[in-house]
Symmetry: C3
Subunit: 151 residues, 3 copies
């Protein structure tokens, strides 16, 4: 039971955040499900804001990445009913709002990747791109999109 | 008839822009079709240029995003023959050329997302990531790639 | 024999680089295989570093893109056993670490795209997005992810 595992780890699956605009948060196609880019929003408010290497520590960036990951799971749940319908996590794309000289995007993205593996075990192991960008919606420090395979 | 709908909305499906380099503009695989990143090019010329939050208004950015969307549809048509072979639009990835303090990427991306829904209705609703970047090919303000499902 | 072709062209398929963090380098799903973002790492060391338009020439950027492409093939091989199991290359996403005024991302990405076509011929022709970003992991000039179709 994936949701119980998430709670054991000290987290919860939030209600699915509403898209900021004219799109849907997640969508199933064939045996895959893919999410829109998720920000570190908690209960409608951006919980972390600013650039890594300037406004936030790496640890804060990792916490932001954890929230993004939980929001990805949340919107997947909203489409497939239960996270127990997920066979495995396939891919994360992690955009990190970075000062021009910040190069530790992988460390920030690990916040999401490591939580993903804690939750799903072997089935949580995914491919990943971590990329620096000079700005993100609302000034968020991290934006993550996920592709997963359904049972 | 999707092309008639596009004309009703006051737009046209352009001829497919030529790739800027050694790649192809769109490609079908299994029951999906995916595009290369499309710029706001009209008849071989970049119609909009520069950074949001510095050189262009949000409204200009939205217009640029509309052109990118039409170019995505154009290159899909060039591969699958007719837009009526598209079952639904699955995903847009929207890269917005942004000044370092510009955070309204979702508003810019809405230019594409809203036109997509006007054209395809329910089948136009897609997942989306909108991301700021510090520069794009040719100095374009927006670059969009699309994944769609075929009938 | 794809590996022989690569050697004829004067390159080799390196050992698969180790991920920088908590993820896996490539993963097969259905009849596709997708890679994590690959940097221009050779034998564990970043071979090129810095921003295009500031620290590296376009030609150096193209060489870096070639290394990224070979690393993509390397990690695919590590998952599917032989590159002869690849039916065709579908997509490259090329992130180019760019000075704020550098707009020749397509030329840099051509380093990867052209090598891909030399190696795989018609089956190497792919869709592609080339995007500028203000920073990449370790300060790498290029990061590339690949999706390919398996036989």
């Amino acid at each position: 039971m994936i949701e119980e595992k998430i709670i054991e780890l000290g987290f919860t699956v939030p209600d699915a955040p509403k898209p900021l605009a004219a799109y849907i948060p997640a969508l199933a196609v064939n045996n895959l499900v893919m999410t829109a880019g998720q920000l570190p929003i908690v209960k409608g408010e951006l919980k972390y804001k600013g650039k890594l290497g300037q406004d936030l520590t790496e640890e804060e960036g990792q916490k932001a990445a954890e929230v993004c990951l939980l929001n990805c799971l949340s919107v997947i749940k909203s489409v497939v009913g239960s996270l127990d319908n997920v066979e495995r996590i396939l891919k994360l794309t992690v955009f990190v709002n970075s000062a021009d000289d910040f190069t530790a995007q992988p460390k920030v993205a690990n916040g999401a990747s490591e939580l993903c593996v804690k939750i799903f075990g072997e089935e949580g192991k995914h491919v990943r791109s971590a990329v620096g960008v000079n700005q993100l919606p609302l000034g968020a420090p991290v934006e993550i999109e996920m592709i997963a395979k359904l049972k």
